[in-house]
Subunit: 307 residues, 2 copies
């Protein structure tokens, strides 16, 4: 097994690319995929301030490292979710990485700042924790970026994540979600730009990148996510990929190249026809919301009053 | 386990419908699904002559029986594919069913009429046999319908078939195929109308219908199809259905209700912009074709000259 580029012994084979790479050229491959993603969707422009959503897992740390290698100055934000030891450990990995590279890591602890935790929110709402967690992270990252003058929020969603989300949305033909599923969502009033520079790299690639680059990361899956639907879709797509390498990439990239825009147009046309939902300001926090109080503030209120 | 309708002991549970049925009401359920399919897409109008594509398997025989129960007069056409014992047996099942119900079964034997068999075509083209088989059946059914004054060709494609085809087309975002995947394709110059009245019934339902109604059918899968991609997609969708009953139906019906039309519009708009492909007549058989000789005649020529 030899590196495709230099013919030295390879350390990883990527069946999807039908190629093997040595350490050096695998890192170059990862950088190239991120460079292409950023360029193709104008994700980050020169001089812009970037905030990386850092969980302490392989994807967000690989993202932070890769942005640095490509010359982007990016700070990190870790959101403390209060999931017992798991959150404490994840925070340690994030902090360790930031210190080792002399990077700025901001921290927003949900319990300290907002008075609730994800397990608390899940039991208050009696619903799956992943919904409350996603909502809280989106809110906190966006608000922090706006408050601190960041132009763009970069998240570590990889090819496997995006393919699994796409799969779930296609299974139910959720046209609105399909119309919005994109590696780069433009800024809008009250929303920072959101980008996913890792959408061309698989989970196995970001893990290998961290291992080879000696980045310590939280290896465990979140204990609250076990058995969720998203992980089921990932398994299913992994079966498909094993039978036919490249399936995940052609599914996601084919969507982005050939279908996403039409579905987005349809969604927009329908929204216009239906009296587009007008966003106003949440009376509690000022975030954009179609109602009086935003979903995050409602969740916080509910989680606080129950605990 | 009691029948949802009459509370008598049930013989089948349909998790997707969250219901159990006795023999009588299960048959009524199947009839109702076919009635709804036909009505919703105006598949067969009063007085029209229908040709059922009969393979001798559960779907085509259930379809023929159900059309009869609903008062549609339909003849059958069996195409002899020359797949050794499998084809002979399948023909026997088709003939037995037709005789027992006093129905007209036409037969076109590929070897006799066209001088080749599917195994022969597969080895001549060195490609998977399913492509040659589908092409040949589509050609023969269409030509027979036009030559003998049938208004519509009805095929036994069920919910599982349609969901698996949709899955394959979505995985590669084949917009053209997606735009054309529909339970009822209108007639056009040189093409009979094609309808799929079983698209609302799963494979398990058509099999149970045949068993309960004492219809003998070819139980074996086609030996040439083993391991093909379509069957792989079916397995995968079965896994999904087991985890979450109703997934297949919401995937297929959601597509038909919310996405098919947009994708068809896009395909049409693109075809118009690209100088739509003009169909002319095959110089050998007269079928519509974009080239000089249609794909079926080319296949036949190649299969004959190799054997």
């Amino acid at each position: 097994m030899k590196c495709r580029v230099c013919r030295e012994p390879a350390v990883i084979d990527l069946r999807r690319h039908n190629a093997n790479f040595c350490h050096e050229h695998f890192v170059a491959h990862c950088e190239e995929q991120v460079r292409r993603a950023i360029r193709h969707f104008s994700m980050i422009r020169p001089g812009e301030r970037t905030l990386v959503a850092v969980s302490g897992g392989k994807d967000s740390l690989a993202l932070w490292a890769l942005l640095g290698s490509l010359g982007y100055e990016a700070d990190g934000l870790y959101v403390g979710l209060g999931i017992d030891d798991y959150s404490d450990e994840s925070h340690e990995y994030a902090r360790g990485f930031a210190e080792s590279r002399d990077l700025t890591l901001h921290v927003v602890d949900l319990a300290t700042v907002h008075g609730f935790t994800i397990p608390g929110a899940a039991s208050a709402t009696r619903r799956a924790p992943c919904g409350a967690c996603g909502l809280s992270k989106r809110h906190v990252f966006n608000a922090f970026a706006l408050d601190h003058g960041y132009d763009v929020v970069a998240t570590g969603h990889n090819l496997d994540d995006e393919a699994a989300v796409l799969f779930g949305n296609v299974l139910r033909w959720e046209l609105e979600y399909l119309g919005r599923q994109h590696p780069a969502l433009p800024a809008a009033d009250g929303f920072a730009r959101k980008v996913k520079p890792l959408y061309r790299l698989g989970e196995r690639e970001t893990a290998a990148y961290c291992v080879l680059e000696r980045i310590d990361y939280q290896v465990e899956e979140c204990p609250m996510a076990a058995g969720n639907r998203h992980l089921g879709y990932k398994e299913l797509l992994n079966d498909l990929e094993a039978r036919s390498p490249g399936s995940k990439a052609s599914f996601l990239f084919g969507f982005l190249e050939r279908a996403q825009e039409q579905l987005a147009d349809t969604t927009r046309a329908r929204a216009d026809a239906d009296d587009a939902v007008l966003l106003r300001r949440c009376t509690v926090c000022g975030a954009p919301t179609p109602g009086e109080v935003c979903a995050f503030c409602k969740l916080r209120e509910r989680a606080r009053s129950t605990s």
